[in-house]
Amino acid sequence: MDDRLGALKAVLYAISDAAVFLFTKPLGLGMLGAALLVAAGTRLWTVVSGRALAHRAAGEEFRIASAVGSALREMACMVVGTAGALPTIVGIAAALTLIVGLSDATRKVDDYIAGQKRISELTTTVRNLEKRYKAVEVRVEDLREGRIKATLIFFDYLDLKAPPKTQSVDIPGKELFIDAIVCNFAYSEIAAGSSINLAIPYKVFSDELPESQGIALSILDESGTPFMYRRPPEQIYGIAPEAYDARLAELVASMRSDDAARSAGIVRSLYGDAVHRSAKRGESFTVWVEQSGGLSIKDSSSF
């Protein structure tokens, strides 16, 4: 059915394009005019040469005045003939106008349908790029004598009813640094929903405590999967659960061998990112993994 419709449209577009070219474009009008002139010239030549032959057969001289007269007579006949064929010409013009209009409308409808498809694709792309998800929430429990006491909450998306996994830290300093390995996938992968950017928080340190002396985070479950990446299939937006598992496996592999993922062309960047904020007693903030790239911190109360 689609093939037949496509063939019909092709014929319609061809007739329409030809009509538009011949009757609206200077080159087309020129070609049409030239063809008519050639046809009229041929006709006149035929008539005049016929008359000349008849005169010669009758032994009469064929003068220029006779030739002009014959030509003018024939031209008048052509005008009269054209006037007689006017209803037919008007009918053809109307039919061509109808075909052009129908073709234009069909094209517009096709363009509109294509536009709707493009909007749908772009909406999915933008939605995938605008996504973010929580990596860790930080609650500053206390801040005294130059020490920060905080609770880190890791989200287990696989079992939302289970109490969140937490870890308490007590370190010297004024700023809390949450250090994570960040893996940003190629935009084509993110936009298509084939991958999601990943971040694995692995250490906490402060402005006074160097990273090498920081506190390691226990964010892995018994199988070695970070809590925030354990998800039921229905919560893995825009990516098939199998693909999600595969990408997670790729991340683990890429953590073992950076080159493996990069050579596969799926990883845009792999690096460490220690996001930080000054610790204020009673305040909490959330570290988010942005699908447009990198990590961000937002006030927990803002969401």
Binding site: A105, K108, V109, D111, Y112, G115, Q116, R118, I119, L122, T123, T125, V126, L129, E130, R132, G173, K174, E175, F177, I181, V182, N184, Y187, A191, F205, S206, D207, E208, L209, P210, E211, S212, M255, D258, R268, S269, L270, Y271, G272, D273, A274, V275, H276, R277, S278, F285, E290, S292, G293, G294, L295, S296, I297, K298, D299, S302
Partner: protein
């Protein structure tokens, strides 16, 4: 009498033709309008998609050497038009280099004044895994231009935007000089110290890496 009856009687074909023509014209104008709206929507989504992928490079770095537990690196700072603003070359004790950026929410003149629509990324300090951030090298002075951060030149800021930037920059510098977190210079501000991970993605000596700032506040390190 007949004439008057004849006058009142109209041709039904003409009426149908007018109705059909009206529907066709209405449909055509609806389609025209729908196409116009559709084009606006596509342009908006395409621009948004491009904006989400857009990148600003405020800093490039190259590790020059690693000797005796020291990392020597050269950092180059750039303004928003890509013009080089400053160069810093220094050695730091440690194995992994951290480039700390200050990210401050910003409301542009054209956007909603109540809501931040972008982020200002200011190079903050450099430290390593062996030295605490508080002992790192502050970068604020390296791009000071009469109280305006040179790294944010290269675009036409309005007077209000320029004043807001200068105020936030002055506050951040003051806090940093006092040994206090510069992220407190604006509500919602935070720091992001992007770094190499020695066992996973270390900076190769002699290679150039760029720090990329994304529109939603995220930072990345990409090899050039």
């Amino acid at each position: 009498m007949r004439r008057s009856e004849g006058k009142g009687h109209r041709n039904p074909a003409l009426g149908i033709l007018i109705i059909v023509a009206s529907f066709i014209m209405g449909g055509y104008f609806w389609l025209q309008n729908a196409e116009r709206l559709q084009k606006h929507r596509i342009d908006y989504l395409e621009n948004l998609s491009l904006r989400l992928r857009s990148e600003i490079v405020p800093l490039r770095l190259m590790v020059l050497s690693r000797d005796n537990g020291q990392v020597r690196a050269r950092l180059k700072l750039y303004d928003l038009s890509g013009r080089e603003v400053s160069t810093i070359e220094k050695s730091w004790p440690g194995a992994e280099l951290y480039v700390d950026m200050l990210l401050l929410p910003f409301s542009s003149e054209s956007g909603d004044a109540e809501k931040a629509d972008s982020w200002l990324a200011l190079p903050y300090r450099v430290f390593t895994d062996s030295i605490g951030a508080a002992s790192g090298t502050l970068l604020f002075d390296a791009y000071d231009s009469g109280g305006f951060p040179e790294v944010l030149r290269g675009v036409a800021w309005s007077a209000r935007e320029g004043s807001a930037i200068m105020a936030a920059y002055a506050k951040a510098r003051k806090l940093a000089a006092q040994g206090l977190p510069a992220s407190d210079s604006a509500e919602g501000g935070y720091g992001s110290a992007v770094h190499e991970v020695a066992k996973l993605a270390g900076f190769e000596t002699g290679s150039v890496y760029k720090v990329v700032s994304r529109v939603k506040g995220g930072l990345e390190i990409l090899e050039e």
